[in-house]
Symmetry: C2
Subunit: 233 residues, 2 copies
């Protein structure tokens, strides 16, 4: 097979998925970005995903809805309050975990990849500076690859799907350094789980705190903090 290799990249509008997409583009893939409206309590993420897709020159950006909020069980879909000021060494998996979210997202990406005749998926999961979510670990990604081969017509016909998780073993500071080296503008992204009106980050949820620690450790200013909030769309 000749020509450009296509890849489906899950794009949330956060720092990690933006960096992942940029890495995929730098590797020469033609990107098809998938953003899933799964019932997030705010839509700042979706606006950020659109900004990021535009900045990366992604021509095909599919937004798709799945109603995980009706399943409940997560602070990110409104069933529970988002914890603020949680100590970084808190035990257990926090209530921002969305049950089976990455399995749903990767299943949708897999379905679209099959339709596009793509064999590569990119996802910005990370198992270092993260919240302990089970579906961000290397063994999970490997199990999904095995499932994908069995789940699809393409797999039956001999194809194998690769789930690329280029950030999985990187700390947040290394992710940021990598993105800065690729020329990314992190002012376009959104990380906060509990933003104020206008998308302004709270600075107190796990996601804001991991982001702040990462920028500090990388020795790079966070454009969202220096600008005093989210840029206008």
């Amino acid at each position: 097979m000749t020509g450009v290799r296509k890849a489906v990249v899950l794009l949330s509008g956060g720092l990690d998925s933006y960096t992942t997409a940029a890495i995929a583009a730098a590797e020469g893939f033609r990107l098809h970005a998938l953003t899933v409206r799964y019932g997030q309590v705010h839509d700042d993420e979706l606006a950020a995903a659109r900004r990021v897709a535009q900045a990366l020159g992604i021509r095909e950006h599919l937004e798709l809805g799945v109603d995980l909020a009706s399943i409940g069980g997560s602070a990110l879909t409104g069933s529970l309050p988002v914890p603020l000021d949680r100590p970084p060494d808190s035990p257990g998996i926090p209530v921002t975990y969305v049950p089976a979210r990455n399995t749903v997202l990767l299943a949708l990406a897999l379905g679209w990849a099959e339709v596009l005749d793509a064999r590569d998926l990119f996802v910005g999961v990370n198992a270092v500076d993260y919240s302990g979510y089970p579906d961000c670990r290397p063994e999970y990604i490997a199990a999904f690859e095995r499932l994908a081969a069995l789940a699809t017509r393409a797999g039956v016909e001999g194809a194998s799907f690769r789930v690329h998780a280029p950030l999985i073993a990187l700390g947040k500071a290394d992710i940021i350094r990598r993105g800065v080296a690729l020329g990314l503008d992190y002012g376009l992204t959104h990380s906060c789980y509990s933003p104020a009106a206008g998308g302004r980050p709270c600075g107190r949820c796990d996601s804001c705190r991991l982001r702040a620690l990462g920028f500090d450790e990388a020795g790079v200013p966070d454009p969202l903090r220096s600008a005093g909030g989210q840029p206008a769309p």
Copy 2:
């Protein structure tokens, strides 16, 4: 753990999922039925799922939307015409295959099971008298069980999920015999991929033809055929 065991059952409104749910109930599980509106071109299936859930006395029936039609690639979501009068021995996987559908459905069931603190999922897949869909095979179900343990908080905490597929090794006639023995009213179900107005089965799609062969072989009249169509809701 004492008390009633909960199970999430995927309920499409077809003959197989109805029988599967009845088997789960007969095994003593308390059923939580999940019906997914994934972009089917007609909503006769959804009406049938409601009838069936009511007939089985299922108290909790969640209908949840996911927009697989925007991914495309399937006759069942309107991207391609439904094939009629396809010879039963046609090679390959037909265009009624929906890319990654069962992975999406099982992922949603898994998420809900985790929220409900259930460890059992039931799905009416069948690898004998079926259309050759890859995500109906025993090896696929086993791979999903392995993924589920890695994907979830419950799995990290030591739980394992069981995906029950009680029909997987049965022919359509055996499924029907089993359901009749359980007292099921197959007049409540809907199988056709391409129904006429009012839900009347076409009799010519793969699903109608497998159903008809199954009833013939079981020596049982299909109440949908003898009644000349779908019952009033």
